[in-house]
């Protein structure tokens, strides 16, 4: 029996057998099903993923009919980070004219709403100029990033210091105050960018600082939709479930701590979010097959119930893709193909 090329979650290559590959797929889907209390993948779906993983081509693409839309994560920031010396307007033109991007995302180098508030008057004219010279829709994106609201970076006592000291009530109060402040900042910035013509707003990496962070994202979306009924909002998650850093925060009667993506999706739909971005974490010591089956199981629990488009986050440690800055094209393309075809995704 021929060996099958694969990788671990940290990107390390290894060879496996058909039997081991299927064992990993089954273990991955079962892990997701048990944690999320969701259905595991069917044998047909597992066989389809196995066929993709066994493919000897270095790069693969979706079957005709499964083509989907691509959105990007802080697009111009990627060029700046890789030392490509262009301004953001040119970066967006490169994405559109050279890469053929479906959508463009403008983001500030400090990709959080709080620091953008101070310089938003510089962001608006740049967005307006970009909109004149490009054709694809431009989304403005940033994170709630509640970490910036606690000392020493922000005004409120640091829950990470209060919690280990047993000062639970003070930590919770700090999170609650941070939510109020973050919502104000996000609504301020998103309103400005929308009024400057942005085609949409991305609330990205929602839940990164736990349930308070998730609450800030949901409240912001709710306020923006009430203020601008036509505004388009994409909400992207930070991880596969919401950490209960506060523990008791609720949105519309639903406790946020411990919610998996399919449960956050329902709240996102409730507040009028237009596109939901799923995120499933990669385990570096498990195989690509284990990670991918697990990520697809979680994602499928979203696409099975979604009334709005689902764009799965794929790459750099999420969606079954390895945890590398430059992800190998083999696992990136195979994971993307499997994710799109099994989940019938609307976008990546």
């Amino acid at each position: 029996m021929s060996k099958i090329f694969s990788r671990y979650g940290d990107g390390t290559p290894f060879e496996t057998t058909e039997k081991e590959l299927m064992e990993d797929l089954v273990a991955g889907t079962q892990d997701a099903a048990e944690r999320g209390k969701i259905d595991p993948l069917s044998q047909d779906d597992l066989d389809h993923i196995a066929d993709i993983m066994k493919c000897r081509y270095t790069a693969v693409g979706v079957d005709p009919g499964y083509e989907c839309v691509l959105t990007y994560d802080g697009a111009p920031i990627k060029l700046i980070r890789t030392n490509v010396n262009v301004d953001r307007l040119q970066a967006l033109q490169i994405y559109e004219k050279l890469m053929g991007a479906d959508t463009l995302e403008m983001g500030f180098v400090d990709y959080s709403y709080k620091p953008i508030k101070h310089i938003v008057t510089y962001e608006q004219p740049l967005m307006e100029q970009a909109l004149l010279s490009t054709t694809a829709p431009i989304i403005y994106g940033a994170q709630p990033n509640l970490g910036l609201y606690s000392q020493p970076d922000g005004p409120f006592p640091n829950p990470a210091e209060l919690l280990p000291a047993g000062r639970i009530a003070e930590a919770k109060e700090s999170y609650e105050k941070a939510v109020e402040e973050a919502v104000r900042d996000m609504v301020y910035v998103a309103s400005a960018m929308y009024e400057s013509g942005a085609d949409g707003i991305i609330l990205d990496t929602v839940g990164a600082a736990g349930d308070a962070d998730a609450l800030a994202g949901l409240k912001t979306a709710q306020i923006l939709k009430a203020k601008y009924p036509d505004i388009s909002i994409e909400m992207g998650m930070a991880g596969e479930f919401v950490l209960g850093m506060h523990g008791s925060l609720e949105f519309e009667g639903v406790r946020l701590a411990g919610l998996y993506n399919h449960q956050m999706l329902e709240l996102a739909e409730q507040v009028g979010v237009d596109i939901f971005g799923t995120v499933m974490n990669t385990n570096t010591t498990e195989s690509a097959a284990w990670n991918l089956a697990r990520a697809i199981t979680f994602t499928k629990s979203c696409t099975d119930i979604a009334k709005i488009p689902i764009h799965a986050n794929m790459g750099m440690g999420v969606g079954g893709v390895t945890v590398n800055d430059h992800t190998p094209i083999d696992i990136t393309s195979k994971a993307s193909k499997a994710m799109v075809e099994v989940c019938r995704l609307d976008g990546l």
Binding site: V69, D102, L131, S133, T134, P137, E234, P309, D346
Partner: protein, 91 residues
């Protein structure tokens, strides 16, 4: 932008349409089949004919905000920046 991904994306963003519905809507508005939407050769011709902007836009072709005026009309969308453009060019 190599084919019709930006147009399908607009329907997802503006109307929260799932991929199948968005493709069907765009194909009907453009007068092409759904399979044509992902063909860069066919779509470049269609986009040139309908002045929807292309990857490598030549002289006198519709570009940037010009193309978005036509996209808004063709897809029956109220594109935010097109609305702003009209507001700023009307006294």
């Amino acid at each position: 932008m190599r084919a019709a991904g930006d147009l399908v994306a607009r329907m997802q963003m503006a109307k929260a349409m799932k991929i199948g519905d968005a493709k069907k809507y765009v194909a009907e508005r453009l007068g092409v089949s759904i399979a044509d939407l992902t063909d860069p050769i066919i779509m470049t011709e269609v986009r040139n004919d309908l002045k929807l902007g292309t990857l490598h836009a030549g002289a006198r072709s519709a570009k940037g905000i010009e193309a978005k005026h036509n996209i808004a009309e063709l897809l029956d969308l109220d594109i935010n920046c097109v609305r702003n453009f009209k507001s700023n060019t009307t006294r």
